[in-house]
Amino acid sequence: MFRNQYDTDVTTWSPQGRIHQVEYAMEAVKQGSACVGVKSKTHAVLTALKRSTNDMSSYQKKIFKVDEHMGIAISGLTADARSLCMYMRTECLQHKYVYESPVPVQRLVIDIADKCQGCTQSASARPYGVGLLVAGMDQTGPHVYYNCPSGNYYEYKAMTIGARSQAAKTYLEKHFASFENLELKDLVKHALTALKETSQNGDINAKNASVAIVGIDHPFTTYDEENVQQFIDLLDKDEISEGATKTETDTAMQE
């Protein structure tokens, strides 16, 4: 009926010049819950919205530490992300063994991108169904990269991926120019505010939000559960002070 003739494997071009399987993999990234990555002169921050399948289950982990100077936030197939994360960790250890120093962020991102690219040319392979926001720190400062299943990678000042990330993107586009000179606290606040835009009911709390920070004299640290509350509080206070017209019940309803 409406079967697509050209999407059965990754080595078949469509007459329009597209590789459908790769595009489907990129769609998988949009299915996952959103992640945000931003950076200033001194820090890179990741935030992610966690989902739980039902009330009895835990929230799915979204941010993975790779090494002391780098970590990833993921959207898409978590299993694929874990496999890529393991590869990244191994590469970091290898680099540390040979050079006694952390691997430059872009070099590892290129390795991952090459790995993803390999899957877009082999009939027996399936492209990775996950997008990675890589936040890291090296000689040249903090970095945020987006790594796509197609094998492309991009460096960003601010980026967001995943479900309803367009809303966060709109927010970031409005504010990213000011990020460079921000204090860490304010940077995190922006990252969480952007993340909030992607939340279905505008609710982010200590349970469903993750924050990760890496920067100068700040090894990659993930904040979850009770540790993330301090950043959530940042957000709420700000809203109360800015939104003078809001009543207390309005704020209470959001939580």
């Binding site: 040979v98 050079y99 006694e100 872009q106 070099r107 000689q139 040249t140």
Partner: protein, 233 residues
Amino acid sequence: MKTKPVAEPSTRTQQPIVTGTGVLGIKYNGGVMLACDTLGSYGSLARFRTVKRLEKVGDFTVVGASGDLSDFQKISSMLREMSTSDSAYDDGCNMTPRDIHQYLGRVMYNRRNKFDPLWNELVVAGFRDGKPFLGAVDLIGTMYEDDIIATSFGNYVCLPLMRKAGTNLSKEEAKQVMENCLRVLYYRNTKSSTKIQIATVSAEGVEIGEPFEISTYWGYSAFQHTEYHGKRL
């Protein structure tokens, strides 16, 4: 009864062939200095008079080598490859002196585990982010850092002289210490020469000087009337 011929164990580099002797390294105020002579000995024969044993690696590091010179050429080409790939990445990151020191340590240790060592003692000098670096690696992969380093014969002859001079030196003073050390080394070491080379690494970058001759003085009476416990040698 016939016995089966037993295969000899495979052997690799069991001795160095063309060799260089001691390399000296010292930290001074605002930089690090390396010095060595330029002789390539073939056994005890002074075979090659001007062999450069100091190699610039990247923008902040110099590596000096004593021991087998062909092995050092191999190491040099590995290091050049490394800095080429640094610039090929084009990401603004490059190897620090410490990176290079660790890398060499890994390479040497790996080769000794294959019973095929690269027969060198290496000295790594660098200056990065306002900090001096001076480290040594030997043919079995032993690594250490210090304010003064001397390899091979220099270990015995020059180290005490350098220790006496200390590290609170100007560049000019450091150069005097190095020249004097190599002069004393030449008096005592049959495999050294008076043609020497000095390299400095500082905030200004790497500077490898051209080889030049140092003076010697043989008029000391101890050189002319060598006695040991009253016995003429």
